[in-house]
Subunit: 348 residues, 2 copies
């Protein structure tokens, strides 16, 4: 049986094609009909030719939808349930899942291949009990709520991981480097954790305005040394908590430069170009700056963030500035690539 | 007035020359007659041409000696006192000194220049109250004790910083990468902090034997992938606490490879070559490994480590495997460069 899905056909080329629909394989699998998903900043790296990726390959890793079928060992979800899933699958039972580091799950993996990418009509969720997060029935069809939950599949959990990794706490002064979806969610996360002063650094006035509405107390739209100097002025020599939400060499080194000696950079942006261009390791070393973080174990944060979304105190949905259907996915990539949209919501 | 001191004259060239003797300049200065000092692994980087350094320049940064003269504002030491000092000076009063991050002192700096390098007859200690550590009179002339205290000027404090930065605690399993003086002191520090299992990785059988006498429970003398595999076998997939005590790209990346997902690499080796050769940032990112540490604030650790040395429970002096006088300093560099000596004690 076939379904329709987005397929990566090389840099700049996303096609909507008929592909095999995933079916149950293991007794711990579930098949989910995708109703909502999104295009991620990290999808743009292969799209821009800045990261290798198989051609052709299914793409998308932020699935939300309705469970269609479950294997016989699945206990936590049943057909008809509204669920979402993080950008990696996880068993929920290994050492690392128990520790809250689901991205290092010894049984988990990425979406794609025969399991399907999330930018498609169906996905097969491996280890459904560990991977899927159920949305309570009373909220299962409320479109506004669903759009606020969807970022928990990736960017909201990732922004939260940046804040946690940077040690942001009640009363903290922190700097958020990057005004993309992750940076904006990082601002929300820092505010949620009680940061008193949140300085957002970026390059786009409209996004920094959104950062302010999310809780940023100061914004810096400058670039390069001017931006660093402004951040150091505002913090009298750097912040103890810096959240790096981009992953480029420039952003990492800016984060190190605006961090106070002895402080912590929480980084969550997928590193690209850093091995070639050189991390400012001497800056880290001389100032005893800690580099914490990495790929965000968003499954670990899903329950607490979901509770806040359902409780009405957390709403990252304004990051979605454009909505497309499955046929509109190529246009969605174009719009994000050209920075017309912050993040694109896809309703297959 | 002149004195004799070691002078760096370019790669491979250390000369003993007559140079101006430092005198009091500020009211917070002290002049110290150096009785004991050492040659550091980091002195070897310029010696080997692997790091730029002014030619000519005074060298050495591990001074111990007798206070000869103090400025009128100095309160904590007086002429005749036995003192030692860390490899950087520090005021003891700024935000960073109060925080225990004396290496970021806003008033401090490195030895050398007109203050003198420690490989010479005298040094001028800036901010004497903050910089100098006094040895109690009853121990001030006990040569064995002094040789056990001398490493507190640098390598013992640095090894301790690696252990603290890696989060080593009672019951920990940790891996120490590097069997030089810092790595060996790192083993001592880990044992002192209560680590249960200490795996020392290095390339020299004699040094690893010393690591065992210092408390290493396992040693790995292999290189490259074989060494990494052995460490992963011993720890069933990596240690949560890894101490990087070299600073080279290879050692940093080995430390990342043997660190368990979610674990911490405490690094203290002066980075060299890493900007060019590339840190394994993807390894850090995918495994959420924290990189903590940097240049060691050994002044912060001096009091607690000194108490243990004086109490007889800490003795790093076996790292000194060769002793020279001032004229023997060039020979000391040669012996360390050719790895005949682990660390050279200098008695000017």
């Amino acid at each position: 049986m076939d379904m329709r899905a987005a397929v990566f056909r090389g840099p700049g080329e996303i096609a909507i094609e008929d592909v095999p629909k995933p079916a149950l394989d293991a007794p711990t699998d579930a098949v989910v009909r995708v109703t909502h998903t999104a295009i991620c900043g990290s999808d743009l790296w292969p799209y821009r030719g800045q990261e290798d990726r198989d051609v052709p390959s299914r793409i998308g890793h932020e699935p939300m939808g309705i469970v269609e079928e479950v294997g016989e060992e699945v206990r936590s979800v049943a057909p008809g349930d509204r669920v979402f899933a993080p950008f990696v699958t996880s068993c929920g039972e290994c050492e690392f899942c128990r520790k809250g580091l689901h991205t290092s799950c010894v049984n988990g993996g990425f979406w794609g291949g025969e399991d399907g990418g999330a930018q498609g009509e169906y996905v097969r969720a491996r280890h459904a009990d560990g991977t899927l997060v159920r949305v309570p029935d009373r909220h299962a069809d409320d479109e506004e709520t669903l759009q606020a939950i969807l970022p928990l599949t990736d960017v909201m959990g990732t922004g939260h991981h940046a804040a946690v990794s940077a040690g942001v706490d009640a009363g903290s002064t922190c700097i958020v480097v990057g005004d993309g979806a992750v940076g904006l969610c990082g601002v929300l996360a820092a505010r949620r954790l009680g940061a008193e002063r949140i300085i957002a650094m970026g390059h786009h006035e409209d996004r920094l305005a959104l950062a302010e509405s999310f809780g940023a107390t100061d914004t810096i739209a400058a670039r390069g040394e001017e931006a660093v100097e402004r951040a150091q002025e505002l913090t009298y020599g750097g912040a103890n908590h810096v959240m790096e939400c981009v992953g480029s060499t420039g952003a990492m080194n800016t984060a190190i430069e605006v961090c106070r000696p002895g402080g912590t950079v929480g980084y969550v942006g997928v590193p690209h170009g850093i091995e070639d261009d050189g991390l400012d390791i001497f800056g880290l070393f001389m100032d005893n700056i800690s580099l914490n973080g990495g790929i965000a174990p968003v499954r670990a944060y899903a329950d607490e963030l979901l509770a806040d979304v359902l409780g009405g105190t957390l709403d990252p949905s304004p990051i979605f500035t454009k909505t497309v259907d499955l046929d509109g996915v190529p246009e969605g990539y174009r719009a994000m690539d050209e920075r017309e949209a912050i993040k694109v919501l896809v309703k297959p």
